[in-house]
Symmetry: C2
Subunit: 342 residues, 2 copies
């Protein structure tokens, strides 16, 4: 294997394409050859300064294990199981993955996604997936079933994030849920919620994107580009609202759409601050739930059963050496998922 690889890294809010050393794999880790990587809104926010990340960008991927670190007999058995397998990977590298014997309080509570010492693939202190290879602990990996193609498997990470909503909030079958944002994540969320039997209304600004989601338990409402949702009547309120706009003005509309004692799930992470009138949250005794990474098993099961079909969400596939063009494309209005192929 070559000692260098092509990679797209962030520095000073710019994406630089260059050759970097192939990552080293310590014991208990795998070297994964990236087959396909996805561009997420968080990647675009990182390029605007979010998290101040420096390194190789990208956290959505499907790949193939090409090497395992370590030497003991037990580890070799583990490796034999992984070598050559197609995998997706959880992005939070927690105490166990870091090989730390004394766990932090969050790992002790079995919430490694909140590990106090965590590194996060392509987001916090760990090189990501916009490269020919990446390194992750074996405990982070999930094998991809043979009947789930790469183009679907690459959606596992954001789909798991969509599934996290149902892991955190009990939404009864038939319950009315408003999802704000017709982008990549919003599209996955409406599919997950509809598959769980919710009556979903997707609010968005792009007729073509809304059309992709319409049907199968999802109705759609077009928000006027400039009205910022002000035209949405106060009478139109929901017991469950999900903000997946990825934008600062999403929260204000989400608050307006949530009925008293209702639940608002926050999925938007963006760089900077939002101006929010918080008194309606108090007066209406709303519950706001922040929601991030989710269960990969559930996401893979939905993909395998065909309950969520992400293929229509792919706008374009770029070769890795055109990563800068891919990012520009991903930022354009009307575009959904842009993939990178190393």
């Amino acid at each position: 294997m070559a000692a260098a690889m092509l990679a797209a890294r962030v520095r000073d809010r710019r994406l630089l394409l260059s050759h970097r050393p192939v990552p080293k794999v310590p014991p208990g880790w795998a070297l994964v050859r990236v087959r396909l990587a996805g561009i997420c809104n968080t990647d675009l926010e990182i390029l605007r300064g979010y998290h101040g990340f420096r390194g190789i960008l990208g956290h959505e991927f499907v790949g193939e294990v090409v090497r395992c670190g370590g030497a003991s007999a037990a580890r070799r058995r583990d490796e034999a199981q992984w070598l050559g397998r197609r995998v997706v990977g959880e992005i939070n590298i927690a105490c166990r993955g870091l090989g730390l014997r004394s766990l932090c309080e969050f790992c002790r509570r079995d919430t490694p996604t909140h590990c106090a010492r965590r590194r996060v693939l392509g987001i916090v202190n760990h090189d990501g997936a916009f490269a020919e290879f990446l390194a992750l602990p074996l405990v982070n990996l999930h094998g991809v079933p043979h009947d789930v193609p790469d183009e679907c498997a690459v959606f596992t990470e954001p789909l798991a994030a969509a599934c996290q909503i149902l892991a955190q909030v009990r939404i009864e079958r038939g319950a009315h849920v408003a999802v704000l944002g017709d982008g990549k994540l919003g599209q996955l969320i409406v599919r997950v919620l509809a598959a769980a039997g919710a009556a979903v209304t997707l609010f968005g600004r792009h007729r073509e994107k809304l059309a992709l989601a319409a049907g199968r338990g999802v109705s759609t409402i077009v928000l006027a580009q400039r009205a910022g949702g002000r035209r949405v009547k106060a009478a139109c309120r929901f017991p469950y609202v999900v903000d997946a706009t990825g934008a600062a003005d999403g929260l204000a509309l989400a608050i307006k759409l949530t009925e008293p004692r209702g639940t608002l799930v926050l999925k938007s992470t963006f760089h900077g601050a939002a101006r929010v009138e918080t008194w309606p949250m108090v007066v209406n005794e709303m519950t706001v739930v922040g929601s991030r990474c989710g269960p990969f098993e559930r996401a893979l099961a939905l993909l395998r059963a065909g309950q969520v079909d992400p293929l229509p969400l792919i706008s374009r596939v770029f070769p890795l050496d055109e990563a800068a063009d891919a990012i520009r494309e991903a930022r354009a209005s009307g575009v959904l998922k842009v993939l990178l192929k190393p």
Copy 2:
């Protein structure tokens, strides 16, 4: 009884003292002679434009039933029970209190505090307690036990609001809770939480106010006046945080103090918008719970058992005709509860 009464009403963000007609009491309502009324932060916010309220201000009171409306025999029995009794009153006038036969969806769900048609004493479309008399539906009234003096009973409404936190969020005995804001409501909240066995830390800017709360399961931390809490270390985080600052910058500090998967209770209602970075709510998967009016029974029980003693929180009592001075006093730094005596 005189046909006119002294009252302090809001108009164009100003407090005007004048004589107004004594309220009429429809069937099922009581005319209450106000014995003592309390000035709440919400009153000060209303005078800054919050809710655009016009009318007689005030929603915290203890009074005495002097007349009941209505005529039927059933009603007369009800009246006999109330006439002459010392009472406190819930402030939300919902479908039942309004005598509406078809209930709104929130009253049907038995959440009358969220009644879609509600009026709110001294806050929304209904004259309040800074007057010689007020009118409320009998269903809103709670008799005050004879061993609870007026000076304690007048705290029932804000104390119930403090108790609402425990009605909404399960806080285990011994759990660490941060309360932000050493003002009137924060003081009641720390007492309620400490009485429930929580390990409470009160954050505030006034040494004298913090000193009032210290001890009995409450420790205190002084926030630097200008630092806006920036000096509070990130390492100092709590599973439960209550924002009772009543100020726009409270939420940002509250978010900073909440540990991953922690719960932040919002008690602050203020006029205008806050600038908030929301991504930590998402990344840390926080739950934010808006909390407003609470159970009067619980508040009265705490007062009666002496588990909460609000008397040290009384800064000064003004006669009603000095309401404007009382408001000025309530706004001053270092002042806690200011009462009005009609």
